[in-house]
């Protein structure tokens, strides 16, 4: 390959470079002027976190904890009613919620945390759990049986007990929670709380009837699309 003789002149490369920059000086620019012009987001973009609503405007989330279990950095956290009308605790990073913020500050400063919010979670004697786990050889493969035995002992599944199981067997809390919430015969609340939940669930048909009536009155009898 023969060398272009012009290239042998010292400084010619710099001159070419400067010619190139001068040409670019007049070319259209690549900047997107952000607040006025917004780059189009591809349809598959998944940087936007949102919960899905169904066509009636209620959340589709069933608090099944599947996403929390799958989340690699454990940032997902939730709370609410599941399909059976039971209230589920939320459980996540301590800093996530306002009500835990003070506790967090205490913790960072090295003082003991009074922790009233968790008294009814922690206020169980977990010695029994240890015995149960000993019986199952600390093997998370027998998780369902462990949970059943725990419920048989306490009458329900206290959070403290679940945490103990998680701690000892090394299983993720979300996994234990997912298992426990999957089976209808396992419950997280003492029977008293269950009654409240049942009462709350019993209110639901009345609310639905009210909403239906509202919809009918709004549509003015013109159609039945509500």
């Amino acid at each position: 390959m023969s060398m272009n003789p012009i290239r042998l002149v010292p400084g010619s490369g710099m001159v070419r470079g400067m010619a190139l920059t001068l040409r670019r000086f007049f070319e259209p620019k690549a900047t997107i002027r952000y607040p006025e012009v917004r780059a189009d987001i591809p349809p598959k973009f998944r940087g936007r976190l949102q919960l899905l609503y169904d066509e009636y405007g209620t959340l589709k989330c069933e608090t099944c904890f599947q996403c929390a279990q799958a989340c690699p950095i454990e940032c997902i956290d939730m709370g609410g009613m599941d399909t059976k009308g039971r209230f589920h605790v939320h459980w996540g990073a301590a800093e996530t919620y306002g009500e835990r913020r003070e506790e967090s500050a205490l913790r960072r400063s090295g003082r003991t945390v009074p922790d009233p919010a968790y008294d009814h979670f922690e206020g169980v004697d977990v010695g029994a759990v240890d015995d149960i786990l000993e019986g199952f050889d600390h093997d998370p493969a027998h998780l369902l049986a462990i949970l059943e035995a725990t419920q048989a002992h306490y009458g329900y599944l206290p959070v403290g007990a679940l945490k103990r199981i998680s701690q000892v067997t090394g299983t993720w809390y979300a996994q234990i929670y997912g298992t426990a919430s999957f089976y209808g015969h396992l419950r997280f609340e003492p029977p008293a709380l269950l009654e409240q939940a049942a009462a709350m669930a019993a209110r639901r048909p009345a609310e639905q009837a009210f909403l239906a009536g509202l919809g009918a009155s709004l549509s003015g009898g013109g159609g039945d699309d509500a």
């Binding site: 459980w91 945390v113 998680s166 701690q167 000892v168 993720w172």
Partner: protein, 181 residues
């Protein structure tokens, strides 16, 4: 799987190997005692039938029962990755010879293994901590490492198994993960 290569390995290193040579997919595994690693690796590097000039990777492994240093080598003479597992390093006081005399580039990888597993490579002239600060005292990738984090003392403790500050009580047998692989 390169059967001929396996035969060559068998005939050359059969007496040093602690276990029969295994092959799976495109990997050939040779297990040797850690003390023999410099000689074996030097032979693999220099002898014309092997010519393993490239050290692809050096990894420390804590199996829960012993420490291992795993070398992955590449050569033109075979189509397999050669995995040399230098095993039998005591967990209490892991010491093994360094191979920086063969590959100077192993220096940082050995430092990393030291940093993470407390495996002391004798002969590495710069065996310092590499990732963790110099005043750090524990070895994070060991299986008996539990994170002494404030998260472990919080009500959320136990939600993440790795944030335990210590092995759970009453579980001496199941305290750490082990592998027989």
């Amino acid at each position: 799987m390169d059967r001929a290569f396996r035969a060559r390995l068998e005939s050359r290193f059969g007496d040093v190997a602690t276990e029969p040579i295994r092959q799976r997919h495109d990997e050939t595994e040779l297990r040797i005692p850690a003390a023999a690693a410099p000689d074996v690796l030097r032979a693999l590097h220099d002898e014309p039938e092997f010519r393993f000039l490239m050290l692809s990777d050096l990894a420390g492994v804590d199996t829960g029962e012993q420490m291992q240093v795993v070398y992955h080598l590449w050569s033109e003479t075979t189509s397999d990755w050669l995995r040399v597992v230098a095993e039998g390093i005591a967990r209490d006081e892991p010491r093994t010879p360094s191979i920086t005399f063969l590959w100077k580039g192993a220096e940082w990888m050995e430092r990393e293994a030291y940093d993470m597993f407390w495996i002391v490579f004798e002969g590495n002239r710069d065996l310092r901590r590499i990732y963790m600060p110099p005043d750090y005292t524990s070895f994070p990738l060991r299986k008996d490492f539990f994170l002494p984090d404030d998260a472990a003392r919080s009500p959320g403790g136990g939600v993440r198994p790795m944030e335990r500050s210590h092995a759970p009580q009453g579980t001496s047998a199941g305290a750490i993960r082990r592998v027989k692989a």
